[in-house]
């Protein structure tokens, strides 16, 4: 086998930032080569360099044995490199055919020669198993088919080295299977494929070789049949993965939260929540499992007082049914919402103003008369330090932070007030491994100190590892209670879908 693409010791600095320090990569022709790394590890920069969008400060690029230096993507395309972008770049009101030839139209005299184009595209589609109707409007296509059009676009321009940037991010599992079949088809035809992803299970399924980069440098090159996804993950973060687990029993005597026959009616046929009852002690974590949309978000909103319900909820032994959201929060209920952008942040505002959200009635922010800006800023600095929120300062806009840092900030905001009850909905969703471990650690410490926690998550290992008890919700009802000590993700998954 010959090497189709080779990068040697690529480095690239942006003003003040080193994006790539020493990245090397060797892709065999006729193979699928995955490039993995955490967010911000420098994957995209490598690919932009290979695709001619950026120039390296040092290092060499070889394509099919010849050294190259691309000044623009045009030059990369000319030697057969193509990029399938994560976000499709298609014109909705054009047909598939028109989209594919757009910018590279075959001409006869002054006219576009659609006949030639159609013939070429139909042939290509058949050869590579990428069937799609050339005369269909793109707006009528599903996501998977649009991706095919993107691939055909690249092939049409003569690419034999294809870069896929996080191609499965937008696909459903069925479409992922189709894509992988197509990739293997392309491989059979001798194409080289570079597959960028951080979904390790997928990487192992589709790739022949894997290059792992961390903090801008290549740290490993392995054959995918020789590694497990756990090993890959550890290579990516450079240390052992944090585990979701708690130690010992920290459950206290007193009951913090009690739900009795809580029901939330809906306009439709079935209730959003039906007769939910449970007791939660201080120092206890109750995990709520369920396929999304089975009442978990309604449960959190009901506890917070955002939804109207029948039945009784008591907090610390007193009924809170008539208390408003603000009164409940002031009693000591903290909330990490499932959708941080919609529910927990003002993205266009500085961090110190986001610090206020939810605690505008509490010290040190509210001094009983006005908001104390100075104290708030100091307190924000403290949270950023204590919870490792990486941003220049309290004046940084929330939107500028990465998802993981935003989440750490939200967790910190709730934790510094040491609420008696924390309602945590998907607390580690969409954050990188490091932040995930940090958030688990915070939850662990809080549990030991006696915080009661309602934990909702789609990550079954997190649920099993962190919870003292597990409730399974299905169609707004609690359908099972499991002991996490003798539950596996498989068993829990089965219970979630209602299988016996």
């Amino acid at each position: 086998m010959s090497v189709s693409v080779e990068l040697r010791h690529i480095s690239k600095r942006f003003p003040g930032v080193i994006a790539n320090k020493d990245v090397s990569l060797k892709v065999q022709s006729g193979s699928v080569h995955a490039l993995v790394g955490e967010n911000g590890a420098g994957k995209s920069t490598v690919m932009k360099i290979l695709y001619g969008m950026q120039r390296p400060d040092s290092g060499e690029i070889f394509v099919n044995g010849d050294q190259k230096l691309f000044k623009s993507p045009h030059e990369a395309i000319a030697v057969g490199i193509g990029m399938v972008h994560q976000h499709f770049m298609l014109a909705d009101n054009f047909t598939v055919l028109e989209n594919i030839i757009l910018g590279d139209e075959p001409k006869r005299a002054a006219q576009i020669d659609f006949g030639v184009a159609r013939k070429k595209i139909t042939e290509m589609a058949a050869t590579y198993g990428l069937e799609v109707d050339p005369d269909e409007l793109v707006e009528n296509l599903g996501v998977g088919q649009r991706q095919r059009v993107e691939i055909l676009k690249v092939l049409y321009r003569g690419a034999n080295i294809l870069i896929f940037d996080e191609p499965t991010a937008v696909l459903v599992p069925q479409e992922v299977d189709d894509l992988f079949n197509a990739l293997h088809g392309l491989r059979e035809k001798g194409m080289s494929i570079i597959f960028i992803s951080h979904k390790l299970d997928e990487v192992l399924r589709v790739a022949d070789e894997v290059t792992v980069i961390r903090a801008g440098s290549t740290v490993a090159e392995v054959k995918s049949k020789d590694v497990t996804s756990k090993q890959l993950a550890e290579l990516m973060v450079g240390s052992e993965l944090p585990k979701p687990e708690t130690k010992g029993n920290t459950k206290r005597e007193n009951i913090v939260l009690e739900l009795n026959q809580v029901t939330v009616p809906s306009k439709g046929a079935r209730n959003l929540l039906s007769n939910i009852s449970f007791k939660l002690h201080a120092g206890e974590v109750i995990g709520i499992a369920g396929v999304e949309g089975n009442g978990q978000s309604e449960l959190t909103e009901t506890i917070l007082g955002l939804l109207e319900y029948t039945g009784q909820i008591s907090f610390d032994g007193k009924s809170i049914d008539t208390e408003s959201v603000s009164e409940r929060r002031d009693l000591g209920i903290g909330f990490i919402p499932e959708d941080r952008h919609r529910q927990a942040l003002m993205l266009g505002s500085p961090l110190w103003e986001n610090r206020i959200l939810g605690y505008q009635r509490s010290k040190p922010i509210f001094n009983g008369f006005v908001l104390d800006k100075k104290a708030t800023i100091e307190d924000t600095k403290l949270i950023m330090q204590e919870f490792d929120v990486r941003a220049p300062g309290p004046n940084t806009l929330a939107t500028a932070l990465s998802g993981g840092n935003q989440q750490k900030f939200i967790v910190g905001r709730e934790m510094v007030h040491a609420p008696k009850l924390l309602v945590a909905s998907h607390p580690t969703r969409g954050v990188d491994v490091g932040a995930q471990g940090a958030i688990w650690e915070e939850l662990r410490k809080a549990r030991e100190k006696g915080m009661a926690i309602v934990l909702i998550s789609a990550d079954l290992e997190e649920l099993i590892g962190m919870s003292d008890r597990l409730l399974v919700m299905l169609r707004g009802e609690v359908t099972a209670e499991l002991d996490p000590a003798n539950t596996t993700p498989e068993k829990l998954g089965a219970a979630m879908t209602g299988a016996k």
Binding site: V17, G358, A391
Partner: protein
């Protein structure tokens, strides 16, 4: 935050480029009608810079500014009160009608008039707030309709119930306010000026009230819990609700406060000059104020500048008639300023976000 040349440049970029663009657009409009832009601008400037014009500009700006504050308070809460026009009209009408029925010591009388006008304006705006909360009626639509109703209602009340007959005049007017209800001018500001230069004009007492309102607006919006909750509701209503803001109550309170301030904005001329509500009551102030608030980016200081600018253009453009240019050119200038500043601010703010994210990337990488 350090002040760097780049920051100063960024802060000035938007207003300066907007000013240049709007002058260009207005010049083109003038050229299209075969008039000389330089002559037009020169005439406007010379007329606008006279003492009496400056006083008039300040007086006019007073109403603009208060009405813009009324609109800004809803903008900040993520609402849009288009009904300022109706609120200020009804407020002024009732304040004049009832204010003329009693006499009180001077300051108290004016306070009573304020309270009447604010109450009427606030109640009128509350209708839209309650409709939105209870029935989900969009406040833009309801306030537009309430404007029509307010126009009809005030005309009806003035002509049938509130009017007093004046011999030899067709004007419909309420009873003149007693002396204690008339607001004196800020004569200490103009006492050293030449009587012929001021043409007997003085700066309205309401001018001082407007400044006080502006300071109060800034403080309440930026420093109080209510202000924070108001802004949070505007920036991210869902997050505000999660944080414990009662969004329904916030909508009603924001509308009522807006209507109450709107009620004050109809009073400057009435209290200082006409001393009564009559057919000549100025129309359209509540609509112009939307543009003033927009141009001033809903900030207390920004709107001070934009109301002065609009007022200056309005006063000085009257001189265009003298050199045979349609004074309506004023509307073209107004529109050009508004459009170019909205675009310029948007462009600059996008650029600013880009600069900030780059700084952030640097800072994080160095950490």
């Amino acid at each position: 935050m350090k002040v760097t040349p780049k920051k100063i440049y960024l802060a000035l970029a938007a207003p300066v480029s907007a000013a240049v663009a709007s002058i260009l657009i207005s010049s083109l409009a003038l050229l299209a009608t075969k008039k000389s832009p330089t002559e037009a601008f020169k005439t406007m400037w010379e007329f606008g810079a006279t003492t009496s014009s400056v006083i008039e500009t300040l007086n006019n700006a007073t109403s603009y500014y208060i009405a813009a504050l009324a609109i800004a308070i809803t903008f900040r809460a993520g609402l849009f009160n288009i009904g300022v026009e109706g609120q200020l009209r009804l407020g002024a009408l009732f304040a004049c009608y009832f204010g003329a029925m009693f006499t009180l010591p001077p300051v108290l009388h004016i306070l009573a008039i304020f309270i009447i006008s604010m109450t009427v304006g606030g109640l009128w705006a509350a209708i839209a707030g309650i409709l939105k909360v209870k029935r989900g009626v969009n406040e833009v639509i309801s306030t537009i309709m309430l404007n029509s109703i307010a126009g009809g209602l005030s005309a009806y009340l003035l002509s049938k119930h509130f009017t007093v007959k004046i011999e030899g005049s067709n004007n419909l007017t309420t009873q003149e306010l007693p002396a204690s209800g008339q607001m004196p001018n800020l004569s200490f500001l103009t006492k050293n000026l030449d009587q012929s230069a001021t043409q007997g004009r003085g700066i309205y007492g309401m001018f001082a009230i407007a400044i006080a309102l502006g300071i109060a607006f800034w403080w309440i919006v930026n420093r109080t819990r209510f202000g924070f909750e108001l802004r949070a509701s505007g920036i991210n209503p869902i997050a505000a609700r999660v944080s414990g803001v009662n969004s329904k109550r916030m909508i009603v309170i924001a509308m009522i406060s807006s209507g109450a301030i709107a009620g004050l904005s109809g009073l400057p001329t009435v209290l200082a000059e006409t001393h009564a509500y009559n057919l000549g009551f100025r129309a359209g102030l509540g609509f112009s104020a939307i543009a003033v608030a927009l141009l001033g980016r809903n900030s207390a200081i920004g709107m001070a500048f934009s109301s002065l600018l609009f007022s200056f253009l309005e006063v000085s453009s009257r001189s265009l008639d003298l050199i045979d240019i349609a004074p309506e050119t004023y509307f073209i200038m107004q529109g050009a300023i508004l459009l170019s500043s909205v675009i310029a601010f948007e462009v600059v703010s996008r650029y600013r976000v880009k600069v900030v994210s780059e700084q952030l990337a640097k800072a994080v990488a160095n950490a």
